[in-house]
Symmetry: C2
Subunit: 360 residues, 2 copies
């Protein structure tokens, strides 16, 4: 394939250049703040505790565009850093932060509409407020959907409280990108980055299983959902998951009759698995039509040259590579759908004429 | 291949027919008991609360042998049910239970030495007591090693407290079969069997990562370790794990310089993935030499006809199938090693002349 095939990177994170402490406004702590240490270097802090070092790639559109130009990325899809979901906070305060983040993100997109698309964040701890902000994202802000966490405090994604939100996403044609956060087991495996290496893939499997077993995907046939990190451990344990559904229907088939694997073609997965054998497994399992380039830019656990793995795979056809590098993201985001984002008349559902590559 | 190739099932569970409540002896509750409801039907209970229904396959050697005869299993490797690890209990009480379980298990093996091999259990919350019981298992009881949990209370498997135990296992030539238990996230995802479907694969990855990142495998080059359920999510996320080691050596390379994937040939994996594509991935990743049939008999999440998946795979050679169905377990268990089990002079280390199939 041509080396200059331009790609859409579905999985990138962005911060506003200023993240002041909201303790003064809200009267309580726990908020993530950004301290600038030196030009181009910052640090995310929570209540004065170090969370993560970040660099200007996290907030500087010009630097991001320069990186994209150097690596053949045509479009970055921007979403916030999961620590900022702030589902733990009081809903009105989380809404206020979400509005700030979404306004910033939409501003970056509007300033460079040919280089960025955006996924907003919503205060899911209050589904009604979340729906309101989702409508704003899809309407006046011109975003393509939202990034959400793998769970919302004590709710898994199939909690009945969240169903109206997912129904709204379906109605609005909003793409829903699920990102792991607040990783299970993080307190029990503090060393060796295991919350990121073990907990995150498990979180994504938890989210996928909840959407599948809880009947969310079954109830909302046009809802578009993507999972980060190649779907975490979900695609690779699908045999075990199907088997569980088969042998313990009393536990697993309470909401769905069909095998969990039959919902694989309802999920999009990003390509971030860092291994050609794993990516090949995903292609075999779900097909290139469900796989979209995602790099986790600008974080170190991501793919430094987005798409390098996909491009390196000699057993993928040019059509498959092109689909993974750009086509699937276009479909997931509804970029080819007629009408404007947020138009309930045509949410860019997979399988429409505008999406000839869709399987459904 | 011939349909009648006999197999060794590395992953089966057994209970003694009686499990009385130890509350009266120990003065505290939490013990797992077995209630017999009707002939052939029982129920595991914890403090009067239902844990799991079991049938006589769990304790009746004759019924197990009949099942083996019907499914072409030559040898079952017996290990206890993880809920009985009882790492939470006072060490001397856990030792007492382990001795009871091991005596029972060894008795079954001794009564049918051509049909059963055994892996004992040890009170890992007290490594010194655990070493003593391991020595008894490998000596007078004639077992092949032990089954252990994916963590021990607050210790991950790389906790310095456990290193003497693993060193003893290496010295004694004891096979160590790691089984997930006390699954991370179980409180947060109570529905749809997710502790088993999501938590267990994550637990196994946690155990594998701890053994790798914590330097246990590096320090003990002859230690033989197997992981249940195809290694859980570990083999499928190895690209992410390697990448983490590469980009955050401050967190991940504190004990090992080599890539985590370089330790894949130090781990045996059972074949219990319930999907030909996943098994094919494992064969590609680690080779048939590291894969051993495991069925989780007699539990429903297991493979009802042990080896059916392996036998069904037309892209595996007869030699690969034979290796997975029996050869790898022979090597892992040290069945072909000269000398008796527990002979420190020859622990049946992979790579000896007795194990020509070994990769190392």
């Amino acid at each position: 394939m041509k080396a200059d095939v331009l790609s859409i990177d579905l999985h990138t994170h962005i911060l506003p250049p200023e993240l002041p402490d909201r303790r003064a406004i809200t009267g309580y702590g726990g908020w993530t703040t950004l301290e600038h240490l030196s030009p181009g270097c910052g640090r995310l802090m929570i209540d004065g505790k170090h969370f993560r070092d970040v660099c200007s790639r996290s907030w500087d559109p010009a630097r991001r565009i320069a990186d994209c130009d150097a690596t053949g990325v045509a479009v970055q899809v921007l979403s916030t850093v999961p620590v900022l979901f702030s589902y733990w906070a009081q809903p009105r305060h989380a809404l206020d932060l979400a509005r700030t983040l979404n306004d910033h993100l939409a501003g970056v997109v509007a300033a460079h509409p040919d280089r960025f698309e955006g996924l907003g964040t919503v205060p899911l701890q209050d589904p009604e407020l979340a729906i309101g902000e989702l409508e704003r994202c899809m309407g006046e802000l011109g975003l393509r959907g939202v990034e959400i966490g793998s769970h919302v405090n004590a709710w898994n994604l199939d909690d009945p409280a969240l169903l109206p939100f997912f129904a709204a996403a379906e109605r609005l044609g909003a793409a829903v990108f699920v990102h792991p956060w607040e990783m299970m087991g993080r307190a029990e495996m503090p060393r060796h980055w295991l919350p990121w290496l073990v907990g995150m893939p498990a979180e994504t499997a938890r989210a996928a299983c909840s959407l599948v077993f809880g009947g969310v995907l079954a109830r909302l046939p046009r809802l578009r959902v993507a999972l980060a990190h190649g779907g975490g451990s979900f695609p690779f344990t699908i045999g075990r998951i199907d088997h569980g559904h088969r042998v313990r229907p009393d536990l697993c088939a309470t909401e769905i009759d069909a095998a969990p694997s039959s919902f694989l073609d309802r999920l999009y997965l990003d390509s971030l698995v860092h291994d050609p054998r794993a990516l090949r497994y995903l292609v075999e399992l779900v097909g290139a039509d469900r796989l979209a380039l995602g790099s986790d830019y600008p974080f170190p656990l991501g793919e430094a040259v987005p798409g390098r793995l996909v491009r390196s795979m000699s057993d993928l056809s040019d059509a498959q590579k092109s689909r993974i590098l750009a086509g699937t993201a276009r479909e997931f985001l509804g970029l080819d759908a007629p009408g404007t984002p947020g138009d309930p008349g045509d949410p860019g559902t997979p399988g429409t004429a505008a999406n000839p590559g869709a399987r459904r």
